[in-house]
C-alpha cells in the first residue's frame, strides 16, 4: 500500500502539489501566528511584571480588597525571618505604599509614594535600570525622591528641585514633608511613570511611622516557573490565616485574562483559515478519489480490503503532509527563533497603546518547541480528517458497481 500510495502521489501531480502547498501554507501560518501572539503576550506580561510586581507578594488579608492602615502587615520581621528559610527565594523586601499629593508652587499631582529598600530593590524590580536622570536611591538617601518621568513633567520639576508631600501616616495622622528630586525613572509604562515615586524606607519609615510595618512584602524567586510551588511552601510556612500569599498570576490577573481573551479571538480568526484550507484539501482528495472509483472498484474486486483502501488514502495524505510540514516547520521555526532574538520594532506603538500597558516598541516572537510541535500536530490532524469523507464515499459503492462507474 505504501508503494502504491507513493506512486499515486507522483502520478496525480496536480492534487499532490495542491495538497502539499496548502499544507505548507497552513503550517507556516499557524506556527507564525501563534508564535507572534504568544510572543507579544509574554512580552507584555514580562515587561509589566519586571517593572514593579513581584513573582510572589505577601499581604495582610483584606488589604487588597478593603485597604487602609488596619490591614498593614504589623510585624514584618516575623515574616521575613521565616522567608529566610526558603531556599527558592532569591530576594525579598517589604514595601510601604501610600497615596499623597505632591506639589510645588504652581502645580500639584496625586502620586503613590512608596518606601523601598534601595539595595534590595535593585534586584527585585527594574526601578534602578529605569533611571534616566540623576541617581537612584540608596540607604542614606534621606529625603531624596525618585520620581516617574511623566509625573516630573506634570509637576514641572527638575533634578535638585524641592517638592512638598502631603499624605497620611500609617497611624492615620497627618504627614507632610519636603522631598528633593534626586533621580528620574522611565519604565515605559505611562500609568506607572505618571503616578509613582519612591523614597528610601530608612527615611520614609520615620515620617510615616511605619517601622516594621509594610503594605506588603515582595519576593523574587530564583526561577519564576516555580512560583506556584514556592507559594504553597510560603503559605504553609507562614501558617497564618490573616496573611495571604499571591503569585504574579493573581496579581496580574486582569492582564492574564485579557490575554486569554485575545488569544481566543486569535484562535477564532486562525480557525477560519484552517477551516477553508481543510475543506479545499478534502475537496482535492475527494475529487482525486472520485475519479478513481473504477480503479478502486477493480482493486476491491481483486481482493483489496476496506482497511487496505483506508491505509492507501492514509499513506497518501501522510506522505504529502510529512513532506510539506518537514519543509515548512524548520523555516517557520527559524523565523520564530530569529524574531525571538531580534524582535520586530514598531516605532511609536508603545506610546500609542500606553493605556493598554504596552511599554515597549519591540514585538518578539515566541520560540517554544512544544508549541511548534502541537501546531504541527493540529495540521496533521486536519489533514487526516480530510480523508474520512472520501473514504466513506469509496465504500458507498459495491465493488462491481464501482468497476462500471463512469
Amino acid at each position: 500500500m505504501f508503494k502504491l500510495a507513493f506512486k499515486n502521489i507522483l502520478f496525480y501531480k496536480g492534487r499532490s502539489i495542491a495538497t502539499a502547498v496548502l499544507t505548507f501554507v497552513s503550517t507556516m501560518l499557524f506556527i507564525l501566528y501563534i508564535s507572534l501572539q504568544d510572543g507579544s503576550h509574554n512580552s507584555m506580561l514580562e515587561n509589566s511584571l519586571k517593572i514593579y510586581t513581584g513573582a510572589i507578594e505577601i499581604y495582610r488579608k483584606d488589604y487588597r480588597d478593603i485597604g487602609g492602615n488596619e490591614y498593614l502587615i504589623q510585624d514584618v520581621k516575623a515574616i521575613t525571618d521565616k522567608l529566610e528559610k526558603i531556599d527558592a527565594i532569591e530576594e525579598y523586601s517589604p514595601r510601604y505604599e501610600t497615596y499623597g499629593l505632591l506639589s510645588n508652587k504652581e502645580y500639584s499631582a496625586a502620586s503613590m509614594v512608596a518606601g523601598i529598600e534601595p539595595n534590595k530593590e535593585k534586584l527585585l524590580s527594574s526601578l534602578e535600570s529605569a533611571l534616566i536622570e540623576g541617581s537612584f536611591l540608596d540607604e542614606g538617601s534621606a529625603n531624596c525622591i525618585y520620581i516617574g518621568a511623566e509625573l516630573l513633567k506634570k509637576l514641572k520639576l527638575g533634578i535638585g528641585d524641592e517638592v512638598a508631600f502631603i499624605g497620611s501616616a500609617s497611624d492615620g495622622s497627618f504627614a507632610a514633608d519636603m522631598f528633593k528630586v534626586c533621580g528620574v525613572f522611565k519604565t515605559g509604562s505611562f500609568e506607572f511613570d505618571s503616578s509613582t515615586s519612591f523614597v528610601a524606607r530608612s527615611y520614609f519609615d520615620e515620617l510615616m511611622n511605619a517601622k516594621n510595618r509594610a503594605s506588603y512584602i515582595t519576593l523574587k524567586l530564583k526561577n519564576i516557573e516555580d512560583a506556584d510551588k514556592v507559594n504553597e511552601q510560603i503559605i504553609s510556612m507562614l501558617d497564618d490565616e490573616n496573611l495571604e500569599s499571591l503569585t504574579w498570576k493573581t496579581l496580574m490577573k486582569s492582564m492574564v485574562e485579557i490575554m486569554e481573551i485575545d488569544a481566543v479571538f486569535g484562535y477564532i480568526s486562525l480557525s477560519l483559515f484552517m477551516v477553508v484550507i481543510f475543506f479545499v484539501i478534502m475537496i482535492y482528495g475527494f475529487v482525486n478519489v472520485s475519479s478513481r472509483i473504477k480503479e478502486f472498484g477493480v482493486l476491491r474486486c481483486i481482493g483489496l480490503s476496506k482497511r487496505n483502501i483506508f491505509l492507501l488514502l492514509f499513506y497518501e495524505i501522510a506522505l504529502l503532509s510529512i513532506f510539506a510540514t518537514l519543509l515548512a516547520t524548520p523555516i517557520a521555526a527559524y523565523i520564530c527563533y530569529y524574531y525571538n532574538i531580534n524582535p520586530i520594532v514598531i516605532d511609536g506603538i508603545a506610546d500609542m497603546y500606553k493605556d493598554y500597558g504596552i511599554v515597549s516598541d519591540e514585538i518578539p516572537f515566541d520560540y517554544n518547541l512544544f508549541t511548534i510541535g502541537w501546531n504541527v500536530g493540529v495540521i496533521y490532524l486536519l489533514n487526516f480528517l480530510s480523508i474520512l469523507y472520501p473514504y466513506m464515499y469509496i465504500n458507498s459503492f459495491r465493488p462491481i458497481e464501482a468497476t462500471r462507474h463512469v
Binding site: 492602615n69 503616578s195 481573551i261 483559515f273
Partner: protein, 403 residues
C-alpha cells in the same frame, strides 16, 4: 440557444453532486465564518468609537492652545459659553457640551488614588451622548455634592453608591483645596482613561471649588457628522485648538486601520483558498468531459458557446455557495448583533481594558457585496486555465482517444 447552454451548465454543475455540494458547503461555511468575524471585530471598534465619542471627545473637541500639553487651570477657553452658543447655531452641530477638568487625589478613609475630576452639565451630557446609558449602579444625580465615579476607579478605592470620597487638588490660586463628595452612581464608559480615573461632578460646583470663571471651560465637545463642520470650526476658532475625534484618538484610528488591514488580508486569503477549491473542481470536471466537448466541437458547436457554458457552470456553483453563505452569515450576524458574544466570565479584565462584557457585532451591506464580487471573480478566473485546454482541443485527438 442560450436557454440550452444555461440548461447544460446547470445540469453539468450537478453531474457530480457530491463534488459540487462540497464546494458549495466550503464557500458557505468560509463565507459565513468570515462575515461573523468581520462583524465582531468591526462591532468592537465601532462600539469603542461610539462610546469614546459619547463620553468624551464627541466628533470634534476644542481646547485652549496649550491645554493638551499642559493640563493646567491657566489654559482654559475664555468665554466658552458664548462659543458654545455660536457653535450650536452652526449647520451640522447636533449637540455641544462644556467640560471643566482637573487632576488630583481622590481619597476614602482607607485608600487614595490619582483621579481626574470632570465638571459636567448632566442634562447637556444626556443630549450629547446619552450619559445615563453608561450607568452600572446607582442613579445619575449630581445634586447635593453628588458624584459619579468611573467603574475601575470605584474598584480601586473600594467605593460603592453612597460612599463618601474627598477630592484634593490645587485651585486657580495655587492653594491645595479639598471637597467632600458622595458617590451617587458608578458608570462604565469603556473609555479607559475615564473608567480608571474620572469622577464627574456638577460643572458649577467644580468652578466654585477651583475658583475658575463659570464662563470658561477646558473642553468644548461637539457631536456632528457633517464633514464640513470641522473645517468651519477650524476657521472660526483659529486661535483655539480644534481637533477631530481621530486626531485626538490616534490609537483608535490605528485600530481602525489595523482592522481594515486584518479584514482585508483575511478576505484575500479566504477568497484565494476558495478560488483554489473552485479551480480544482472545475478543472477536473472539465478534463473529465474533454471527449464530450470534442464531440460538441465536431458537430459544430462554436468554442464561444462552450466557453459560455463553462463560465456559467462555475458561476452557478459560486452563486449557490454565495447564497448559502449569505443566508448563514446573515443569521449568524443577526444573532451576534442582538445577543453578542458573552464574555461575562472575564468582565473584570475586560472592564480594565475598556471593553464591555458582551461584544456585539455590526452588520454592513458591504460585507455581502464585496464577498459576492470576490466569489464571482474567483468563479470566473478559476476556469480560465481549463478553458485554454478546451480551446487548444483538437476534436480528432479526442475522437482517436475513443479507440
Amino acid at each position: 440557444m442560450y436557454k440550452l447552454i444555461l440548461k447544460l451548465a446547470w445540469k453539468n454543475s450537478f453531474l457530480r453532486r457530491s463534488r459540487t455540494l462540497l464546494v458549495i458547503i466550503m464557500i458557505a461555511v468560509s463565507m459565513s465564518m468570515m462575515l461573523a468575524i468581520e462583524g465582531i471585530y468591526d462591532g468592537m471598534v465601532e462600539n469603542m468609537v461610539d462610546k469614546n465619542k459619547r463620553s468624551d471627545s464627541g466628533d470634534i473637541s476644542i481646547f485652549a492652545k496649550e491645554y493638551r500639553i499642559n493640563k493646567d487651570l491657566a489654559y482654559m477657553i475664555k468665554n466658552a459659553d458664548e462659543i458654545k452658543a455660536q457653535i450650536e447655531n452652526m449647520q451640522g452641530a447636533q449637540a455641544v457640551v462644556l467640560r471643566v477638568k482637573a487632576e488630583g487625589l481622590l481619597s476614602t478613609a482607607r485608600k487614595s488614588s490619582f483621579a481626574s475630576v470632570v465638571g459636567i452639565d448632566l442634562q447637556a451630557e444626556e443630549r450629547f451622548g446619552k450619559f445615563s446609558e453608561f450607568l452600572k449602579e446607582g442613579s445619575i444625580d449630581l445634586q447635593k455634592q453628588g458624584a459619579i465615579v468611573g467603574i475601575e476607579l470605584a474598584k480601586t478605592l473600594k467605593v460603592g453608591v453612597g460612599s463618601k470620597v474627598v477630592f484634593s487638588t490645587q485651585d486657580i490660586r495655587g492653594e491645595i483645596n479639598s471637597i467632600a463628595l458622595y458617590v451617587r452612581a458608578i458608570v462604565q464608559t469603556t473609555n479607559i482613561s475615564l473608567d480608571n480615573s474620572a469622577i464627574f461632578i456638577d460643572i458649577n460646583q467644580l468652578h466654585k471649588f477651583l475658583g475658575t470663571d463659570s464662563k470658561n471651560a477646558m473642553q468644548i465637545a461637539i457631536r456632528g457628522e457633517d464633514k464640513e463642520l470641522y473645517g468651519k470650526l477650524k476657521i472660526a476658532f483659529a486661535n483655539l485648538d480644534v481637533k477631530s475625534f481621530l486626531e485626538l484618538q490616534p490609537m483608535i484610528k490605528q485600530m481602525q486601520d489595523l482592522m481594515i488591514i486584518f479584514n482585508s488580508v483575511t478576505f484575500l486569503i479566504v477568497m484565494g483558498v476558495v478560488f483554489i477549491g473552485i479551480f480544482g473542481v472545475m478543472y477536473v470536471s472539465i478534463l473529465d468531459r474533454v471527449r464530450e466537448f470534442g464531440i460538441m466541437i465536431s458537430v459544430g458547436m462554436h468554442y464561444k458557446y462552450i466557453r459560455l457554458q463553462i463560465f456559467l457552470e462555475s458561476i452557478v456553483i459560486g452563486v449557490l455557495g454565495y447564497l448559502s453563505g449569505a443566508v448563514l452569515g446573515a443569521v449568524l450576524l443577526t444573532y451576534l448583533e442582538h445577543y453578542g458574544i458573552d464574555l461575562s466570565a472575564f468582565s473584570d479584565a475586560l472592564a480594565t481594558w475598556g471593553y464591555e462584557a458582551v461584544i456585539y457585532a455590526t452588520i454592513k451591506v458591504s460585507y455581502f457585496t464585496t464577498t459576492l464580487g470576490a466569489i464571482m471573480a474567483a468563479s470566473i478566473f478559476s476556469v480560465i486555465i481549463p478553458l485554454r485546454k478546451i480551446k487548444k482541443l483538437n476534436p480528432i485527438e479526442v475522437i482517436k482517444a475513443e479507440k
